[in-house]
């Protein structure tokens, strides 16, 4: 069972696919997400979102604030601007 991750910005879908883990920085601090995480909705601060894809490679994205929602192994990250 893998996480179904989507990283979207207003103008495009930046990353989507299966991943084993996601880490991001919320207002309360760093947060790591693995499969089976409880439904969560968090506010992100400027920082790095890293997604470890199912093939083991890790991709980092610099985001400027945004939101992270987790439910039923589905993670969606919404952000205004993204850069690699």
């Amino acid at each position: 069972m893998a996480l179904n991750v989507e990283l979207v910005s207003p103008t495009q879908r930046v990353w989507s696919g299966e991943a084993t883990s996601v880490s991001a920085r919320t207002i309360d601090g760093d947060l790591g997400i693995l499969t089976g995480h409880t439904p969560l909705f968090g506010v992100l601060v400027d920082g790095v979102v890293s997604i470890t894809s199912i093939d083991g490679s890790t991709t980092d994205f610099n985001v400027s604030g945004g939101f992270l929602s987790v439910s039923n192994n589905r993670v969606s990250i919404l952000t205004e601007t993204v850069s690699n």
Binding site: P10, T26, F41, F67, S69, N72
Partner: protein, 304 residues
């Protein structure tokens, strides 16, 4: 060449030149519709996720946020009208402006004052010509809006909306948006929607199906909503702008196509007129020659 024929030829040349321009505009718009549609599609996942999130937060947190609770006695409503910067797009801008007028009448019946926020030069000119007050205006990006443009507009609206919470400077209690929904290449509808106070049910993205999960909010429901709602408004304004841009291109393509067709018709009838004028000229010349020859023949016959 006779005068009549020369005039027809001149008119044909002028119509042909116009036809070239309208044909070019038609082709340009046709290629831009596709791009504009792609941008609408590209912005959909974000709008969808955001709508889902707002519904979830609004459902499961019992916060009394000013953005979700309607004011007990609303005084003023803001209307945001999205129109085009340039004309030559058929009734596109007029339809949006008219829809805005209808909405204003409706709001006035409810006893509300209205303030106008305008996007696009056509709407600005319409209001300025009638000496009406404009609370905010943005021009220059109607056919290719960016997220920054939408953010600017949404920020101004949010400031006006939140103003009466703390002070009484010209705040508004409701925000309505008038834009043109792009349904297909042939069908675009100008429509008015209420943005604030929030009606989560009525959204641009398809309504999320199934039960929404019991989210844990981090840090808490109210702060999440505080951060989420401005983004939601921005996304809705952005989506409205993109749809309007696509509609503008579609309307312009249609208007230019009928202009090109009309030019074709005109050229056809002018060609016919020019041909008959030319034929009349030839006939006249022949009858003059024949008449002349006859006169000469009868004159010389008489002298013999």
């Amino acid at each position: 060449m006779g005068a009549q024929l020369r005039i027809y030829r001149r008119r044909m040349r002028s119509v042909k030149a116009t036809k070239k321009i309208t044909k070019a505009m038609e082709l340009i718009s046709a290629s831009r519709i596709v791009k504009a549609q792609q941008r609408v599609t590209a912005s959909t996942p974000y709008a969808y996720e955001l709508t889902r999130a707002v519904s979830a937060v609004a459902t499961y947190s019992s916060t009394n946020h000013p953005l979700t609770t309607p004011s007990a006695n609303p005084i003023r409503a803001a209307i945001l009208i999205i129109s085009a910067d340039r004309g030559l797009a058929g009734a596109y801008s007029n339809n949006a402006i008219k829809e805005g007028e209808q909405l204003a009448t409706l709001l006035k019946e409810r006893g509300l004052q209205t303030t106008s926020y305008l996007v696009g030069r056509r709407a600005v000119n319409y209001y300025r010509f009638r000496n009406r007050a404009i609370a905010g205006q943005w021009t220059g990006f109607s056919d290719n809006p960016t997220y920054e443009n939408a953010k600017e507009v949404a920020d101004a609206l949010m400031t006006a909306f939140l103003a009466d919470a703390q002070s009484d400077i010209a705040g508004v209690d409701e925000i309505h948006i008038v834009f043109t929904q792009f349904e297909s290449m042939m069908v675009q509808n100008a429509q008015a929607k209420r943005m604030l106070p929030l009606e989560v049910v009525e959204s641009d993205a398809p309504v999320p199906t199934g039960l929404l999960p019991m989210y844990e909010f981090e840090p808490n429901g109210e702060r999440v909503l505080n951060a989420l709602l401005p983004r939601y408004i921005e996304a809705r304004v952005f989506n409205a702008m993109l749809q309007s841009a696509a509609s503008e291109h579609a309307s312009r393509r249609r208007a230019m196509k009928s202009a090109t067709d009309n030019a074709d018709e005109l050229i056809k009838s002018l060609t016919r007129l020019a041909n008959s004028a030319r034929q009349a000229e030839i006939t006249q010349e022949i009858s003059e020659i024949v008449g002349g020859a006859d006169a000469l023949a009868s004159a010389s016959a008489g002298s013999e």
